[in-house]
């Protein structure tokens, strides 16, 4: 494809970069969701609120872990 300052830019590379950026954004959104779940549970305090928070934390943690792995690969 295009060669820029001795660096070969391929379509594959561009898509890979976009995926990494999207994963970082998704991780940030999942952390916002964790915060928002806490606030939601403060407004309406369900007995099962703790389990829901654990679920959202689990998702955010998984998201972060996968993002780190994908970004480093």
């Amino acid at each position: 494809m295009e060669e820029l300052i001795g660096f070969n830019i391929t379509f594959d590379l561009v898509v890979s970069l976009l995926v990494k950026v999207s994963l970082i954004l998704l991780s940030i959104l999942s952390l916002i969701m964790v915060r928002q779940t806490g606030l939601m549970n403060r407004v309406v305090n369900y007995p099962i609120g703790g389990s829901l928070k654990a679920l959202v934390w689990g998702f955010a943690f998984t998201c972060l872990l996968i993002t780190v792995i994908v970004v480093l690969v």
Binding site: V15, V19, S22, L26, M40, V44, Y46, V56
Partner: protein
Amino acid sequence: MPEIFAKKVKESDQVKKMLGEKCGNGSFWSSFVVNPDRLSFETQHESEEVILLGRSHPVTNLGWLSLVSIAVFVPMFWGEFPFFAVLSELTMTKVTILWYLALMFYAILNSLLWFYNVYIVTDERLVDVDFSGLLSKVVNVADLNNLEDVNYSQTGLIDSIFNIGTVVVQTASEQKTPDASGELSAFTFEKIPSPDKVTQVISLLIDNEEKENRR
């Protein structure tokens, strides 16, 4: 038995009787929970008792659930698109991971929004909690004394089949809240099951409150 306690017991019994089978099994996932145990809300008074907790009918989740169900299978057909044919196997794996994480995020977010978008009827007030998206919430609270009219509407095939509708409660206040921009009132409970019965319940509580005030 103290009179105030007797009144509360009587009201919740009346509500249970009105809602009949719709009372559910007391699970917080059902659309009606009468006299929920261990539930509290942000602005609750010390002596205030929650009589009814309600939310939209589960069928309102059908749209996003269908979308997720279809989207789960999309990566299986990525080979058919010429766009993906030029990508390496590693990049395809990354795209697939992103796809499933985004789907999970979408599903969890929609479940949470459905679960926490509730209306609460207490022996003193009416509370409407509206979350729309990740960063916005609107909580409307009104004393039962300030409630004026209660009405409901059912439009469309889905509403008729599942007996769901929208209950609108008019208050003495004319203040417009952000969520009421496209609605008739700040207290609009959208797509709730058995709107006729919920209307009856709120009307009953308003009547009881009026009778109590006259004494």
